[in-house]
C-alpha cells in the first residue's frame, strides 16, 4: 500500500541501519493510511530519544517536546481540540523513567490518545546505558555489575491502574502490530502499546531473534475485559505476551469527563469569552 500522505521526501533518517524503528515507521504510516486519517487532522507528539525523533521522519504535524513530558503535552493537545487524532510516541527511557509520574497519571486521566512506547530495553541516544526495562544482570558501561534494579513492567502497571487499553507488540511482526495499532487508534480512551523494538547497536542481548524466541501471542480465548486474567499474563516472567492484553470499555475519556464539550463542541481556539457572563460574574463583587 502506498502512503504518500505521510511520506517525507529528501530527508536523512538518523537511525542506525537495521534499527527496529524503521519497521515502526512503516507500521505507523500504513496504519494511518489504511484508517484514512488525514495528516492535517493528526498530531504526533514525541519526547526525546531515538523514538522521540520519530515525527521528523514522516510527513506529519508534530510536537516534539521534552524528555519524559510528552504525555502531558499530548493530553493538553487532545483536551484543547478533541477533533485531532493524537498519537504519542517515545521510548522506554522517556516514558517509564524520566516520565514515570506522567505515565501513571495520564493513565488515570484517560485522554483519548494512543501511546506507543518503543521498548528496546536500553538507552540508545545517550549510548548504551541501562533503561528501566533492561533485564536483571544486563551489563553496560555504567551498569558494570549488571542491572541490579527490578525491570519496570509497564503493561502490569497499566493494567493495575485500570488503563482503558493495554497491548504489547513486536516490531518484527509488521502485520500483527498494524492490527493492534489500528485497534488502539479506534479505541476511545488512552491506549498503550508497549512496542518491543530492538536496538541493533547497544543491545546485543535482546535482538530480533531473541524477541521472536521470547514472546508469544495471547490466544483467542484470552478475555481482554478480565483485569485479573490480563494481569496474570502481564506478570509472566518467562516470556513476553503479545497482543491486546486488557480493555476496559467503561472508562470515559478525559475530554468527555470535563464536560465542557457537551454544550459546545468547538475546539478551544474557536471560542470567545462570553462577555455577558463575565459582566454578571463581576457584579457579584459589589
Amino acid at each position: 500500500m502506498t502512503n504518500k500522505e505521510f511520506d517525507l521526501e529528501g530527508i536523512e533518517i538518523h537511525w542506525c541501519p537495521g534499527c527496529g524503528n524503521y519497521n515502526a515507521l512503516k507500521i505507523m504510516k500504513e496504519s494511518l493510511t489504511e484508517l484514512k486519517i488525514k495528516v492535517k487532522d493528526l498530531v504526533i507528539v514525541s519526547g526525546i530519544g531515538q523514538a522521540g525523533k520519530f515525527p521528523h521522519f514522516m510527513r506529519a504535524q508534530s510536537y516534539n517536546g521534552l524528555h519524559g513530558r510528552y504525555l502531558s503535552a499530548a493530553l493538553g493537545i487532545k483536551a484543547s481540540n478533541p477533533e485531532l487524532t493524537v498519537i504519542a510516541v517515545s521510548g522506554d527511557g522517556c516514558t517509564y523513567s524520566e516520565g514515570g509520574n506522567h505515565f501513571i497519571h495520564t493513565i488515570r486521566y484517560n485522554p483519548n490518545i494512543v501511546n506507543i512506547v518503543h521498548n528496546n530495553q536500553v538507552y540508545g541516544l545517550t549510548k548504551g546505558q541501562a533503561s528501566p526495562t533492561s533485564s536483571l544482570g544486563f551489563k553496560t558501561k555504567v551498569q558494570v555489575l549488571g542491572v541490579i534494579n527490578e525491570p519496570f513492567n509497564a503493561v502490569a502497571v497499566a493494567i493495575s491502574l485500570n488503563a482503558s487499553f493495554v497491548a504489547r507488540a513486536f516490531v518484527g511482526d509488521i502485520d500483527k502490530t498494524k492490527e493492534i495499532l489500528k485497534k488502539a487508534i479506534n479505541h476511545k480512551g488512552y491506549a498503550l502499546i508497549d512496542l518491543l523494538c530492538p536496538c541493533v547497536t547497544f543491545n546485543r542481548v535482546n535482538t530480533f531473534q531473541w524477541y521472536k524466541e521470547n514472546s508469544y501471542y495471547v490466544d483467542n480465548f484470552h478475555n481482554v475485559y478480565d483485569q485479573a486474567e490480563a494481569m496474570k499474563l502481564a506478570l509472566d516472567s518467562q516470556k513476553f505476551p503479545l497482543g491486546i492484553l486488557y480493555i476496559n470499555p467503561n472508562r470515559r475519556p478525559y475530554e468527555e469527563n470535563i464536560r465542557i464539550y457537551e454544550q459546545d463542541q468547538r475546539p478551544l481556539y474557536q471560542r470567545d469569552l462570553d462577555r455577558n457572563k463575565f459582566n454578571q460574574l463581576l457584579e457579584s463583587f459589589r
Partner: protein, 579 residues
C-alpha cells in the same frame, strides 16, 4: 497618636487561631463596611497550619481610599491567648482592646485601653463558641455605625446553605454584639472618636482581592486552559477558575506535578488554547525546563508566580519579593520573556488580561510576578476598565505552504493552529528550521537566535513605562515594584516632601527606555524591596549602569508597613543631612 487620623482612618485587627472563622468575619466585615459607604482595606497574615496557631487580619476603614498595610491598631479583638503577645509590637497606649478577660490581659506590661466583653460566654448562650466571632462582628459594626440591615442580609446570604437555624443563630449573634456594645458606648466606656462620613457612591464599588483580580483578569483575557498544582499563595487562583470552569467553557486542571502542569499547558497552547499556569516560587522551579520549551517552541503562555519566602519550602504562607531572579533567568538558553508585577488590584486584573494578548502576539512566556501580600489583600474600587478590553488572537488559517517558524522581518512568525487550514503546524524542542524540523545547521541556528533577539527588541519598545509620582524637580527618587506600590505612596504622602519622587514599575522586564532618564536625574536613588539583596535594584543597575544609593529592604517574611518605609526614608534623609 494623631487624633485627626484616628477619626478619619481607623484600623481594626482581629487575631486568633486558624479554624476560628476569622476569614469569614473579615469578609462579612469588609463587605458590610463597603456597602455602608466606607472605604475599606483588608489584609491577612496567617500561619501554614489548618488549626490553631495565631493569625490576624488588619482592616482599615477610612473616608478616603486606603490601600496599604499599617502597623497602627486602633481597635483590637483578641480571640485567643496568643493574640496579644503576637501583636505586641503593634499595640500602643491608644489601642482599644475588646474581648474576653483572659485574652485581653495576657501582656499586662503593655499599655492599652482594655475593655472586657465576654464574647465566649455570650456565644455559649447562643449555642456554641463558634458564634463568638459573629458577636464580635456585630460589636465592631455597631462601633463603626455600619448599616445593620446590610450586615443582616450578608449574614443571611453567607449562612443560608447551612439552614435556617444557623442563619437565625448568626443573626442573633449579630444582635447580641450590637446590644452588648450599646451601653458601653452610651456610658463612654468605649470612646473611639470615629468620625467618617458615609459616601453612598462607595456602596456600589467592587471589592475583591488580588487572587480574584488575577483570576478574573485571566477570564477576561480569554483564558480557556488553566493548570496548577496547589501551592500557597497561588492556590486560590486555580480554585477560583475551577469554580467557574463550566460557566466559561474553560479546562481547569489540577495536575500531578508542576512539570506536568507546564507541559500540559504548552500542549494546549500549541493546539490553540489560551493557556495559563499559576504557581509559587518552589513550584515554578520545577517548571523552568518547560519555560525554556516555551521559548524554543515560541508558544504563548501566561504564568503567575506568587512569591513566598524561600529558599525551598521556606515560610509557605508569608510574603516576599525573592523570585525576580528566578523568573528572569529560569530556563536553559536565551529567549525573550516579559515580567509584569502588579501593584494594585486594578493592575492585577488588567495586567493579567493584557498578558494573554502580549503572549499571543509575541509567542513568548509572559509572567505575572506577585506575592502573598497582594493576593491576600483587598479593597474597594470603582471599576476594572474591562469594557474596552480586547481579546487578541493573532492566529491565521494556514495554507499548504505554511511554515510555523518562517523567518520574518520582525522575528514574529504568523501562528497557525493544527487543524485550522491546510498547513501543517510543527513544534520542536530542538533547534529547528522554518518548518519546525530538527537541524544542527549553524546558519539556521544563528538566524533562530537572531529571531529571538528581534522579539526582545520589540518587547522593549512596547514595555509599559514606569509610573512617575511627584514633583519633577526631585532630589530623592524612590524606585520600587510589585505590591509595594501603595505602601510607598502612603509613606510618601505622610512624609510630604517636594524633593522626593517615586518611580514605580509594574513591568520589571524588559524595562522601558525612559527609566534611564529618571534615574540619571536623581541625586539620591533609593530602592525599596522585600528581599535581602535588592534584586530589582540590581536589574536596574545592570540595565542602566546607574547605581542605587540606598536600599530599604525587608526579608522577615512579613510585609512592610507604611510606618517602616517611612522610618527607612527618614533615616536616609537624616543621614544625608549629616554627611
Amino acid at each position: 497618636m494623631n487624633e485627626r487620623e484616628t477619626k478619619k482612618d481607623f484600623s481594626i485587627v482581629l487575631c486568633g487561631a486558624a479554624g476560628q472563622g476569622i476569614q469569614t468575619v473579615e469578609e462579612l466585615l469588609t463587605k458590610t463596611l463597603k456597602r455602608s459607604g466606607y472605604h475599606v482595606f483588608a489584609t491577612r497574615e496567617y500561619m501554614s497550619r489548618v488549626r490553631g496557631g495565631v493569625n490576624s487580619t488588619t482592616i482599615r476603614v477610612s473616608s478616603k481610599p486606603v490601600r496599604a498595610f499599617i502597623d497602627r491598631i486602633d481597635l483590637l479583638i483578641p480571640l485567643n491567648l496568643q493574640a496579644l503577645p503576637h501583636l505586641m509590637e503593634r499595640i500602643s497606649s491608644h489601642t482599644i482592646i475588646i474581648g474576653e478577660k483572659k485574652y485581653i490581659e495576657t501582656i499586662p506590661e503593655v499599655e492599652a485601653k482594655r475593655i472586657e466583653v465576654p464574647f465566649l460566654d455570650l456565644s455559649n448562650q447562643l449555642g456554641g463558641k463558634i458564634y463568638a466571632n459573629i458577636i464580635a462582628l456585630g460589636a465592631i459594626l455597631r462601633l463603626l455605625n455600619a448599616e445593620k440591615r446590610v450586615l443582616d442580609s450578608l449574614v443571611t446570604q453567607n449562612f443560608k446553605k447551612k439552614g435556617q437555624e444557623i442563619v437565625d443563630n448568626n443573626i442573633n449573634a449579630v444582635n447580641k454584639g450590637y446590644e452588648i456594645i450599646e451601653p458601653l458606648i452610651q456610658s463612654n466606656t468605649i470612646e473611639i472618636n470615629f468620625n467618617i462620613n458615609k459616601d453612598p457612591s462607595i456602596e456600589n464599588d467592587f471589592i475583591l482581592d488580588g487572587t480574584q483580580a488575577i483570576a478574573l483578569g485571566a477570564i477576561a483575557g480569554g483564558c480557556n486552559f488553566a493548570c496548577f498544582y496547589p501551592m500557597a499563595p497561588s492556590t486560590g487562583i486555580g480554585t477560583f477558575l475551577a469554580q467557574h470552569a463550566l460557566e466559561f467553557g474553560m479546562i481547569v486542571d489540577q495536575s500531578e506535578d508542576e512539570i506536568s502542569v507546564i507541559n500540559k499547558t504548552l500542549g494546549a497552547s500549541y493546539a490553540g488554547a489560551r493557556a495559563f499556569v499559576s504557581t509559587a516560587g518552589g513550584g515554578f522551579s520545577l517548571m523552568s525546563e518547560g519555560v525554556s520549551l516555551a521559548g524554543m517552541m515560541e508558544l504563548p503562555i501566561v504564568i503567575v508566580v506568587g512569591q513566598r519566602p524561600g529558599p525551598s519550602t521556606g515560610m509557605p504562607t508569608r510574603t516576599c519579593q525573592e523570585d525576580l531572579r528566578l523568573v528572569l533567568h529560569s530556563g536553559a538558553g536565551f529567549f525573550p520573556r516579559v515580567i509584569f508585577s502588579p501593584g494594585t488590584i486594578e493592575d492585577a486584573f488588567a495586567l493579567t488580561q493584557k498578558a494573554f494578548n502580549i503572549t499571543q502576539q509575541y509567542h513568548v512566556p509572559v509572567f505575572i510576578l506577585t506575592d502573598q501580600y497582594l493576593v491576600d489583600s483587598y479593597y474597594n474600587i470603582k471599576k476594572l476598565n474591562h469594557e474596552n478590553m480586547s481579546i487578541e488572537k493573532h492566529i491565521i488559517k494556514t495554507d499548504e505552504t505554511y511554515e510555523r517558524y518562517r523567518f520574518t522581518e520582525n522575528g514574529i512568525s504568523p501562528r497557525g493552529i493544527p487543524g485550522f487550514g491546510e498547513g501543517l503546524v510543527d513544534a520542536d524542542s530542538h533547534t529547528h528550521d522554518e518548518y519546525g524540523n530538527i537541524t544542527e545547521d549553524p546558519v539556521i541556528r544563528k538566524k533562530t537566535v537572531q529571531k529571538r533577539f528581534k522579539k526582545l527588541g520589540l518587547l522593549r519598545k512596547s514595555a509599559i513605562p514606569p509610573k512617575f509620582i511627584g514633583n519633577p524637580d526631585f532630589k530623592y527618587l524612590i524606585v520600587s515594584w510589585g505590591s509595594n506600590y501603595y505602601l510607598v505612596r502612603e509613606a510618601l504622602e505622610k512624609l510630604n516632601r517636594d524633593d522626593m519622587a517615586f518611580l514605580f514599575f509594574k513591568q520589571v522586564y524588559p524595562i522601558h527606555k525612559d527609566t534611564f532618564n529618571y534615574l540619571i536625574k536623581a541625586e539620591i536613588k533609593i530602592a525599596i524591596e522585600q528581599n535581602p539583596t535588592g534584586d530589582f535594584a540590581k536589574l536596574l543597575e545592570n540595565e542602566t549602569h546607574i547605581n542605587m544609593n540606598h536600599r530599604i529592604l525587608k526579608h522577615s517574611g512579613y510585609v512592610f508597613s507604611v510606618e517602616e518605609i517611612l522610618e527607612g526614608l527618614k533615616n536616609i534623609i537624616e543621614g544625608d543631612k549629616n554627611d
